[in-house]
């Protein structure tokens, strides 16, 4: 009796952790894509997730678009916003030092948050699951149907990115820019174009995360900072630049938080994961999985 309850709990925590971790993983991937091509850590990455969720609510609930249409509209809008940010905020900077870029992306984050508040207000918004229905009962745990969507879409995104960077021309060109912008320029790859593509992709990726998670967690305008630091934490734990590392670390962080809630307390959940992130930053800044830095896909 006791064992069944406990194993049911563990499965429950595992799924909750995987679901939350999927968002960290997608956010971490977004950080990596932009970082690999530009060397910039985009502090607005968390706000892309928020915007993805809120736009999804707007399209699906208020405009009444069918779900797939709403989903791809969200991606479309965010690709546009990514390009907009690059052309109007990143490109005009004459001396792009790391400090300047940090401050620019912080400013962009504040502005995205402000505009979101302007459009949607401060209330949280809910969204129905992509497929309605009661939770699935698995070995004493109840798994929300949306969790399967979150996990499925995250896996799909990872596969897509692997394919994109290894098989497509533009993906390879982006990698070339990341490795050596000068050489890439010599063979006719336009670096600005590739940076723009990175912003478009990073912003779309964040938005996908936001759109799939909102049915579970609701969404409101000011959630960006926390998502950003957890996503960045995942990127660091996995070794900044490593896609597979980011995904594994994202899921790990989610599961850690879920188990911390289950066995310690909800209140210190964030503190526990932040301490882990800082600990790794201080002792092993190259990430948990050896020299992950700049390893791609």
């Amino acid at each position: 009796m006791f064992d069944t309850i406990l194993s049911g709990q563990i499965i429950q925590y595992l799924f909750t952790g995987l679901t939350i971790g999927a968002i960290y993983a997608l956010t971490a991937l977004g950080f990596n894509i932009i970082h690999n091509v530009t060397g910039i850590i985009n502090f607005a990455q968390g706000d892309f997730v928020v915007w993805g969720g809120l736009l999804m609510v707007m399209f699906a609930r208020f405009f009444g678009f069918p779900l797939p249409v709403a989903f791809f509209s969200v991606v479309g809008v965010m690709v546009f916003i990514g390009a907009f940010i690059y052309y109007f905020n990143i490109r005009p900077i004459k001396k792009p030092s790391i400090l300047t870029m940090i401050m620019v992306t912080i400013a962009v984050s504040i502005i995205l948050q402000g505009v979101a508040m302007f459009i949607w207000g401060k209330e949280p918004y809910a969204l129905p699951s992509f497929i309605e229905g009661p939770p699935v009962y698995v070995y004493g745990a109840y798994i929300m149907r949306q969790s399967f969507w979150v996990l499925g879409i995250s896996v799909a995104m990872v596969l897509f990115l692997t394919f994109f960077f290894n098989r497509t021309l533009i993906g390879k060109a982006m990698r070339a820019c990341a490795d050596d912008p000068g050489a890439a320029g010599l063979v006719g790859i336009s670096t600005p174009l590739m940076i723009c593509a990175a912003f478009m992709l990073g912003s779309a990726l964040g938005a996908v995360g936001g759109a799939v998670i909102t049915p579970i967690t609701l969404m409101e305008y000011d959630r960006g900072a926390m998502i950003a630091i957890k996503g960045f934490g995942s990127a660091i734990l996995g070794g900044l630049g490593s896609f597979s590392g980011a995904v594994i670390a994202g899921f790990m962080l989610g599961i850690l938080e879920s188990f911390a809630t289950g066995f310690v307390s909800s209140a210190y959940k964030d503190a526990i994961s932040l301490v882990l992130i800082l600990g790794v930053l201080f002792t092993k800044p190259e990430g948990l999985f050896g020299s992950g830095a700049n390893k791609k896909a």
């Binding site: 925590y13 909750t16 401060k122 809910a126 129905p128 745990a141 609701l218 909800s266 209140a267």
Partner: protein
């Protein structure tokens, strides 16, 4: 000749001046200061409060003011920021020279402002919920409260639970001022009702998923859950409770008392039990209820004027302003006389029930301030007993 004319001119001048100033003194408005969180995180409190204050002042002035003198409202926005609230309270007292202060909206801001009004000896009617705002009363000489304490809502819940055979409960509270205060009262009052708290945990106000916490509760013997939070987390826990297919009842704090919460929970709120203020269920209360005239009037006027649903929080502003009107009508523009009157107010019918204050109690409300309701078919239903 010239001299006489000059003297004549001077006397006319002073006569005009003295009558003018005398006239001004007779009609000089009563100044009431307000500091509410119109913007910032607590704008869901401050916004309806601002609306209500402006509306009530208009009502009073349309009725001819108080003793023939109009009321002037000096209202500032604290931006939900305690340090700003302090600055603005000082500004109201030193620059605007107000007779009394209403607000601030949150408990944190109210606590921050208390030393300011006590030192300046200006009566304040706070809109914060925490019981600490009005206690200990020796240190709250100039501070009053219109929000019924958390303890009253909890007593009502415990009372109801006992009658329904529940004696083992799980409590989950947000780590906010509101949640901590609720948790403290729940723990303090449980022995009195012979209720056993078998699970007790807190979570951050930014929590997005509480399934792990609910899963732990499932592993205990709890017969009911009380969640004490405000904002997003009370919706999250409601949805997670439904998603996990939990069968034990979920009790929410009075902060759940807003139609929007039922809507946001998307059907998951069915069966949730909440103690609410009468204003939330204004349409459901009987016409012979002593509160009916006030509550229904406020709801009608507010919704006509602002075209949005009335809220509990605006109701606090209504009660505070009308209490001040009664005080001014009775004792005139004198800060300490106003304080005296507020301290002994009795039989005042407001949105938050009937106030009977005393020097030992600067709130003056009892359990009757709340009504137990259940969410049924997407709306509130009074639990008949």
């Amino acid at each position: 000749m010239k001299k006489t004319a000059f003297i004549l001119f001077l006397s006319v001048f002073f006569f005009v001046l003295s009558t003018a100033s005398g006239w001004a003194a007779d009609n000089e408005p009563y100044k009431i200061g307000a500091i509410v969180a119109v913007t910032g995180n607590a704008s869901f409190l401050g916004d309806p409060q601002r609306n209500t204050l402006e509306m009530v002042v208009d009502i009073i002035n349309e009725e001819g003011g108080i003793n023939g003198r109009p009321v002037e409202l000096v209202l500032y926005d604290t931006e939900s920021n305690a340090s700003r609230a302090v600055t603005l309270a000082r500004r109201l007292i030193t620059r605007d020279n107000v007779l009394a202060v209403v607000g601030p909206s949150t408990s944190g801001e109210s606590m921050a402002v208390i030393p300011v009004v006590n030192r300046a000896e200006v009566p304040m009617i706070a809109f914060g919920a925490s019981t600490r705002i009005a206690e200990p009363v020796e240190e709250r000489k100039w501070v009053f409260k219109v929000v019924p304490g958390d303890d009253l809502a909890i007593r009502l819940k415990y009372d109801y639970m006992k009658r329904n055979g529940i004696d083992k409960i799980a409590i989950a509270t947000a780590s906010t001022d509101y949640g901590i205060s609720g948790r403290q009262h729940m723990r303090e009052l449980a022995p009195e009702y012979d209720i056993d708290i078998v699970f007790d945990d807190t979570y951050g106000p930014g929590e997005t998923d509480l399934t792990a916490l609910l899963t732990r509760i499932r592993g205990t013997e709890a017969q009911a859950i009380i969640n004490w939070s405000i904002g997003r987390t009370q919706i999250v826990i409601t949805r997670n409770w439904k998603q996990l297919g939990m069968t034990i009842p979920l009790y929410q704090s009075y902060g759940f008392g807003s139609a929007r919460n039922i809507e946001m929970a998307e059907g998951a709120a069915e069966g949730v039990i909440v103690p609410v203020s009468r204003i939330v269920i204004a349409d459901l209360i009987a016409d012979d209820d002593p509160h009916a005239p006030v509550v229904k009037r406020y709801k009608r006027l507010y919704e006509e004027r602002f075209n949005e649903g009335v809220s509990v929080f605006g109701g606090h502003a209504w009660d505070a302003m009308f209490q001040l009107r009664d005080a001014l009508a009775e004792v005139g523009p004198n800060r300490s006389a106003i304080r005296e009157y507020m301290e002994n107010i009795s039989g005042f019918v407001g949105n938050n029930s009937i106030f009977n204050r005393s020097p030992q109690d600067h709130v003056g409300l009892d359990m009757d301030a709340y009504v137990m309701v259940k969410v049924k078919d997407g709306d509130w239903a009074i639990i008949d007993e």
